[in-house]
Symmetry: C2
Subunit: 181 residues, 2 copies
């Protein structure tokens, strides 16, 4: 899954600059790219070379010149083809599970502390994902279908954190009920 298709997808909603794309991708929780300059500007150069986007240079007073990118009909076709192509498997990295796997090295207090710290970490992530007022309202605003899928994307993230919090509580109880250490 290349960032190029995510960029095409965002441009299918609205024409915008590399800088705008960068902010959206960086702030998004479900797009798995950091959105650093190198990625964005290299991707846009490549998409332009392939004729999937065009750009219009916009001179501004009191701000740097920017390039507004617009998706072409070839770009829309490539986007649709990609959306329907096989979906890569999810990748889930939870460093906590690796720490936990070797909890045999810890005493009771140290393990409880590790679990407590992880719980607070996940609570913070859940709060941030809920409080986050996206500057991407235009992305979820147009049709009823689009509103639905974007709300479900948010719900997917929220449920992931909620599941994790429930699991942590069960883990803590199970650990507390162990007699011998």
């Amino acid at each position: 899954m290349s960032i190029n298709y995510a960029i095409l997808g965002l441009l299918s909603y609205k024409s915008m600059s590399g800088y705008d794309l960068k902010k959206i991708i960086q702030d998004s929780e479900f797009m798995p790219w950091s959105g650093n300059n190198n990625q964005i500007y290299k991707a846009l150069t490549e998409l332009h070379r392939q004729g999937l986007v065009t750009n219009e240079v916009l001179f501004q007073e009191s701000s740097p010149t920017k390039k507004i990118y617009t998706i072409t009909k070839e770009g829309l076709a490539a986007l649709k083809e990609w959306i329907l192509s096989p979906v890569e498997n999810s990748e889930i990295k939870k460093p906590f599970l690796v720490h936990l796997a070797f909890a045999g090295q810890l005493d009771r207090n140290e393990l409880n502390d590790l679990i407590d710290r992880y719980e607070r970490q996940v609570e913070i992530q859940l709060l941030m994902s809920q409080n986050y007022k996206q500057n991407t309202d235009f992305l979820s605003g147009s049709t009823e279908l689009e509103k639905t899928v974007w709300s479900f994307i948010k719900a997917n993230i929220r449920r992931t954190y909620e599941m994790e919090l429930n699991w942590i509580k069960d883990l803590r109880n199970a650990v507390a009920n162990i007699q011998k250490y």
Copy 2:
């Protein structure tokens, strides 16, 4: 989070060769490394250089010579320090969510098909994670604490897939109830 600590952790359970470590890491669902040769053998060379492991060369008839790695007391100290160090945030990459974000490009049938295919994909992943008889029984076998944490690691993965399947069902219902496309 470096693979080096995962290797130290595995060696804290049992001394073994790079080849053994490779198989365990490749087969494990929660250790986020592919476990290719380059990673494993480079990590072992580095751990050896740092004095965190020692190795013993073992000549065999009818099999290649192998090196059995054993964790040192410095290695155990480094491992424990790492387990108690701050846990990195989880990273969750779900390419399906990116496809879904641009579902506005699809008609009803195409979207339903996309959802159905993802559901089957997750069902298969859930089945594989359940049916998987680990050759790492020795890892979960020693103390009650270790048995508990390893069963919770498995449960975490299982619950992740179950949550996803529930979410897919809700998504399908919500999409079906949309009148206008």
